[in-house]
Symmetry: C2
Subunit: 359 residues, 2 copies
């Protein structure tokens, strides 16, 4: 029976694809959100940074900026089946602590009848070039979809498909100001099981505004060169979440200058400083606990110094509550699991609400 | 700098291992929890079922029973560093939707000063045979640890190491009655990012009692042959959580006989029937929603029939709340992510509390 179902499924897929019954839409034709500096020259279409960044940022940051973390494309359709084909740049589809579904996969959400985003479908990448049915048997109705791109791989190409007779409307990236998240591997999305559950993506849905993710695994270090790129983006808020890749001395050296750099260029844009989460096993490892203490103290001091200097529109997120209080919020001590990501979003949300003047 | 740290780390590891400064303890010498039927002949030490099961259960169930899902070994130590070396039976270390850390990795918890289990360390398997430092820089003190074994791979061997001068006490599997979870891929542990966050493991820690995990990916179907093995275990409770692999007709056919089989052999052991969770995208896919409706109705009917027939100590867990209400609790619609697993544990807990007469 199982074999028959698999066969029928395969036949169905084959037929739909082979007979040209699918209308394919290359997303580069109408644009994705989370692709900042969109009017500038780019080395590759799905890079997060414009080509010029290669000359200023570190080699590591440049290399990591070629992952499509945080990108998301919207469309409307009444299709009963949604297809996708995409190719990623690296054959490393997954990592020992993060599955291919998050590293190299897509993640689909749909707006419900009340206008809220709800999860719809994810993928299971097994090769660099994939062609899949994202979802079948969808109930009738024209609705809006958001498709998130791979977090820890580059995207070479991406097309969305629907049956030939279905409506398909390309939705251009929204013009509203984005949240810009500058951070580490955590912002980058490790270890989300799928792209839509990294906290920048969750917050983008909750506030229903665009997000630019500039998280760089191991390399979110408050670089002024990254600051130089950030000020080119007229953001709803800048979120600076680099402490997991820094230490107290680096924070003391770089935090105030980075905030001053952003503030000088963007006098009214909210800036949110985020402490590092505490490793859930730091109760067992005093050295690790001291690392967090030092980082937190250094950021708090920088924050006060900036306030004293009269810098306005500054906000602060404390690190200790970020992952909850049951020690279960990570995959590997450092990186949130999906549980930790949701909790981070819950801690960020009230601060962003104030920063965005939504309360 | 990074290279130097890596080098120092490698040297440290090499020195500790090479100079024989680590005392290794083969866990088969004192036993693991979650290895039921422990006094019977076994095809392989870390199999979940005794050898005789191969003659009765389906080929698929037998094959999947060779994964070490749910096994956990306890020890006490005052070591400042804990090592592990283990080998898994299959070279498939991860799956497209589940990382090697969950499929083939270990997961360490420790008891805090109040006697509560807290998470301590996980692993990042990159090959079949691994030798790692689980945790370093541990604060002084003799404490109890629990190390969970791989969920979706067989364990060929496992040894725990501590420095030669550290205390190490092997803690035999507890004699108290275990919770026996009979289920599908979800019980088996997909898609937990590490072994300790599958819901049977969480519940084992919360209730602080042993757990036997007999979840079989795609093959948890209320088989009477599995029931025949279950009755040999004097359980604290039998949890039957097979609906995701069944349909209404199968539930109607098999549920009452399985419960009667267990009840006949074990007149007073609580039996918990669990509905299937609802796919978080079933709001979009009417056919899927109907599948859940049919399953739930069939299980509810079987439950009432059993109650009417005077079967005592029966408990029921509803499926709709299992993954929460925000549609984010899975990796791929079917399988909980770590968020979904915690939520499942939260829904199971009050029912198990009643079943175990703890309230």
């Amino acid at each position: 029976m199982k074999q028959i179902i698999v066969l029928l499924f395969a036949l169905h897929t084959f037929t739909a694809f082979a007979q040209g019954k699918v209308q394919w839409h290359d997303v580069t034709q109408w644009g994705v959100e989370g692709r900042g500096w969109g009017d500038q020259e780019r080395a590759k279409w799905f890079d997060r940074f414009p080509a010029k960044a290669e000359k200023t940022v570190t080699k590591s940051v440049w290399s990591l900026s070629r992952h499509s973390a945080g990108m998301m494309v919207r469309f409307k359709s009444d299709a009963n089946t949604i297809y996708a084909k995409w190719k990623v740049t690296s054959s490393r589809l997954g990592m020992p602590h993060m599955p291919p579904s998050g590293v190299s996969g897509l993640d689909l959400y749909a707006r419900d009848s009340r206008g809220k985003w709800r999860w719809a479908a994810a993928t299971r990448p097994s090769k660099q070039k994939m062609e899949v049915i994202l979802l079948r048997g969808i109930k009738p109705g024209l609705r809006e979809y958001a498709l998130y791109l791979p977090l820890y791989n580059g995207t070479e190409s991406l097309a969305v498909g629907v049956p030939a007779d279905a409506k398909f409307e390309r939705l251009a990236p929204r013009k509203s100001k984005p949240l810009v998240f500058y951070g580490t591997s955590i912002t980058h999305g490790a270890c989300a099981s799928r792209p839509g559950i990294a906290h920048p993506a969750i917050l983008g849905r909750w506030f229903d505004i665009p997000v630019i993710n500039i998280g760089f695994s191991g390399n979110g270090k408050m670089h002024k060169e990254v600051g130089g790129l950030m000020i080119e983006v007229d953001a709803a808020a800048y979120i600076i979440d680099c402490l997991p890749n820094m230490n107290g001395a680096m924070v003391t050296e770089r935090c105030v200058p980075l905030v001053q750099q952003l503030r000088k260029a963007r006098p009214n844009t909210p800036i949110v400083l985020v402490e590092d989460r505490r490793f859930p096993n730091s109760w067992l490892v005093p050295e690790k606990s001291k690392f967090h203490d030092d980082n937190h103290a250094a950021l708090r001091k920088a924050f006060k110094e900036l306030q004293t200097a009269g810098v306005k529109h500054l906000y602060y997120v404390e690190g200790d509550p970020l992952l909850g209080d049951d020690f279960e919020g990570t995959t590997d001590a450092s990186h949130p699991n999906d549980l930790g990501f949701l909790r981070q979003a819950e801690v960020f949300a009230p601060v962003l609400k104030r920063a965005l003047k939504l309360e």
